[in-house]
């Protein structure tokens, strides 16, 4: 042992350089800053829908399935298994929600979605953990199997039911949703006043307390629970150690394969519930192809969030929000051009002044000026491009936040029992 770091054998492992911890205070500063920026943008461009409670409520609805899929990915990858099969597990979940939801009520639908997703997770676990199949190969297979199985089951079980057919289930009863009566209306009044910042905060709060589905609340609780289990419990420490260094974990007596297996099955259940949300809350119906690639986006949101629940939540929210405003149409996407332009120029200046990266900085400024020119030159963004808003935004934020991502050290590696001996 030395004063500066831990010595393993002859190699000195230096302490990590001290970094600011991103705690509750930093998060609230980011949140308030984001609302302020949006508020300014709303006043400057006159795009009212940019911070309306309707847009934010839609954003929550679109973010939950992405977030749940990402949460599934988080469990699996923290245990060292890459799960690109989230999409397939979500599809199984949509069918489970449709079938059990129709026959036994929406709560059974939610459970059915979890169980169907877990089945998908089970296949992935058996393939990757027990048989050591490459994680990507198995994941892609799950996506194809999930699609095929759901189609087959839908044709088999929904055909001939009232309102059902080979591509859709009969309608499912709704799950309860909550509105805080007086508060929602009061905030609505403040929102309509169009005050700088105050109205936008009111809109955010109103979206959070109007017609919130019980499944949304459960999803938020699952995020908190995941954070607590994985980062605050001994079980979670072992699970993460399996993803970081399975050899070390096994030498300390952790049953590596069991933890990996469990994590992948839980992962499937969460992705399945994400699919269940689509069928039960977003649509009240199982519909062929309704996941629309959200499993992949969930995976991207998880990577965006640096394999952490908080970051993942931010990524899912960003995706949900940008997708909601582009789907709701109007001038919002056009207003975003101005925001992009300002952000890009700011990044450019920052890169040149602080990091002396003249080429990158110059490039960012040039692109920023071009985007700004685009904003002033046209009245609306062509429809062909508005659909890309979520992706462009994510790329920009990633560039702005500078890449500091670190995935679990043994993520994606195949581990066989007793490998380290």
């Amino acid at each position: 042992m030395s004063a500066t770091g831990l010595e393993v054998g002859t190699q000195a492992v230096a302490d990590r350089p001290k970094r600011r911890r991103f705690g509750l205070r930093e998060w609230s500063i980011v949140a308030i800053g984001a609302i302020a920026v949006i508020s300014v943008l709303r006043l400057v461009t006159g795009a009212d829908d940019i911070a309306s409670s309707g847009a934010l409520a839609a954003a929550i609805g679109l973010a939950v399935p992405i977030g749940l899929a990402g949460l599934g990915g988080l469990w699996s990858e923290r245990a060292g298994v890459v799960n690109i099969g989230l999409e397939g597990m979500m599809i199984l979940g949509t069918w489970g929600a449709g079938f059990f939801g129709y026959h036994m009520g929406p709560w059974a639908g939610a459970l059915g979605a979890i169980v169907m997703g877990m089945l998908g997770g089970l296949i992935h676990a058996v393939a990757t953990v027990s048989f050591g199949v490459d994680h990507i190969v198995s994941g892609v297979a799950i996506n194809i199997i999930g699609l095929g199985v759901a189609k087959y089951l839908a044709a088999r079980f929904f055909n001939g039911l009232p309102g059902g057919g080979p591509t859709q289930s009969p309608p499912i009863d709704s799950l309860p949703d909550f509105t805080i009566p007086g508060v929602s209306d009061g905030l609505g009044t403040i929102e309509k006043k169009d005050w700088f910042f105050v109205s936008d905060v009111a809109a955010v709060l109103r979206a959070l307390c109007t017609d919130v589905s019980i499944l949304t609340i459960i999803a938020v609780l699952l995020f908190v629970a995941t954070w607590w289990v994985l980062w605050r419990s001994a079980f979670g420490l072992r699970l993460r150690s399996v993803g970081e260094s399975p050899v070390a974990a096994e030498s300390l007596g952790v049953n590596v394969l069991r933890y990996k297996f469990l994590a992948v099955v839980v992962s499937g259940g969460l992705a399945g519930l994400g699919g269940g949300f689509l069928a039960l809350v977003a649509a009240n119906i199982y519909r062929d192809g309704q996941t629309g690639g959200r499993g992949y986006i969930g995976l991207a949101a998880m990577i965006f969030g640096n394999w952490r629940p908080g970051g993942l939540l931010t990524g899912a929210a960003l995706f949900g929000y940008t997708d909601a405003v582009q789907l709701r149409g109007g001038a919002t996407v056009h207003a975003f051009l101005l925001l992009f332009a300002v952000l890009l120029v700011a990044i450019g200046v920052w890169q040149i002044v602080r990091n002396q990266r003249v080429v990158q900085g110059g490039l960012a400024i040039v692109v920023g000026v071009l985007v700004g020119w685009w904003y002033f030159a046209v009245d609306a963004v062509p429809a062909e491009l508005t659909g890309t808003t979520p992706y462009v935004t994510t790329l920009l934020v990633l560039a702005f936040a500078s890449q500091r991502l670190r995935m679990p050290a043994a993520d994606g590696q195949i581990y066989r029992k007793g490998e380290g001996h």
Partner: protein, 347 residues
């Protein structure tokens, strides 16, 4: 108990499936004894197939009518989501190899494969629904298209007549020329009634991403936005995503317009009350025409346009919500039929 209930329901469903299978088998054999026709019709559905409560079901209705009235032999096959060109060619070729003399391909996705199959098999007759491009052109091809813009004009006029806020919306599934035709007619119809009307248009996805035809969550988000901004009638041409539009209308207490079939009859019961009318596209009529004239020895070829005049498109009156404006709509209908009003095909 509940598990037992589900099991019994599942068993019933299985039994029902078995029954329908037997039924179709026996009916085709009985038809051969009663009325035999030389025409054998193979039908290749678009994604969704029979039972999609929309487009494919409409084509299936035409086929069923031909089967019971003309006694033709039939065989059906359906496409799967995201399949490639080769899979569609293969499907058509299989029908031809099985001895089917007339092949109906449902949906513009088949354009290229029909063109190819028609060249390779000059003795077989083809019909393709929703395509009139050069890809599927041939001496033995009946290109069936509809004047969706004319039908959409009528529901656009209905929307404008029913709107109290002077603000209506349109939700398109995927931004393709076919759906733009719906939008163009809708806008023209609404503007004919009220030139100052405000119309929000939104497409859910851009090609080649066709998920916009099957994603109710997106349909709901788009329609929610329109209703919250003041629109009180929204027309959808978004296939399966339209269910989300109806849900949004129900939640907002406003109105919606259905598409392709009379959706006030086919949509889930809970949302039927918000569907004031639907733009009906009579694929069944066109399919039946093709088979009927074939059985009479007269093959249809070239581009046959089913417009308002030919009764290929129309609006529905189920629910009685537009009874008060029916005379005005029928005036517009007469003007379109007589050619006094020309409805544009692009917005």
């Amino acid at each position: 108990m509940k598990v037992a209930a589900v099991m019994s329901v599942a068993a019933l469903t299985l039994a029902a499936c078995g029954d329908s299978g037997n039924g179709s088998g026996s009916s085709s054999s009985s038809s051969s004894t009663t009325k035999k026709s030389d025409v054998k019709v193979g039908m290749a559905y678009d994604v969704g197939g029979r039972g999609d409560q929309s487009f494919n079901d409409s084509a299936a209705a035409g086929l069923d009518k031909a089967k019971s009235e003309l006694g033709v032999d039939t065989k059906e096959a359906a496409a799967v989501n995201g399949e490639n060109e080769a899979a569609r060619e293969e499907r058509l070729q299989q029908l031809i190899d099985a001895g089917y003399t007339h092949v109906v391909a449902v949906g513009f996705a088949y354009a290229k494969s029909v063109g190819k199959a028609a060249k390779d098999n000059p003795e077989v007759h083809f019909a393709i629904v929703d395509d009139a491009s050069d890809d599927s052109k041939g001496a033995n091809v009946d290109q069936i298209t509809f004047a969706e813009n004319e039908g959409s004009f009528l529901v656009g006029a209905a929307a404008a007549l029913k709107s109290k806020t002077g603000h209506i919306g349109f939700v398109g599934g995927v931004n393709v020329p076919l759906i733009k035709k719906f939008e163009a007619g809708y806008i023209a119809g609404a503007k004919a009634v009220n030139p100052a009307i405000k119309i929000d248009s939104q497409y859910l996805t851009q090609p080649p991403d066709f998920s916009g035809f099957g994603d109710p969550a997106k349909g709901k988000t788009a329609a929610d936005g329109m209703y919250q901004k003041g629109a009180d009638v929204v027309y959808h041409a978004a296939g399966g995503s339209g269910g989300g539009v109806f849900t949004a209308a129900k939640a907002a207490g406003k109105l919606a317009i259905g598409v392709d079939s009379d959706q006030a009859l086919t949509a889930p019961e809970a949302v039927r009350s918000v569907i004031m009318t639907s733009m009906i596209k009579k694929v069944d009529v066109a399919v039946y025409d093709f088979i009927k004239s074939a059985s009479e020895g007269k093959e249809l070829t070239g581009n046959n346009i089913y417009d308002l005049k030919a009764g290929g498109v129309d609006y529905s009156t189920t629910g009685g919500q537009i009874d008060d404006i029916k005379s005005k709509l029928d005036d517009y209908k007469a003007k379109i039929v007589s050619g006094e009003i020309k409805v544009p095909v692009t917005p």
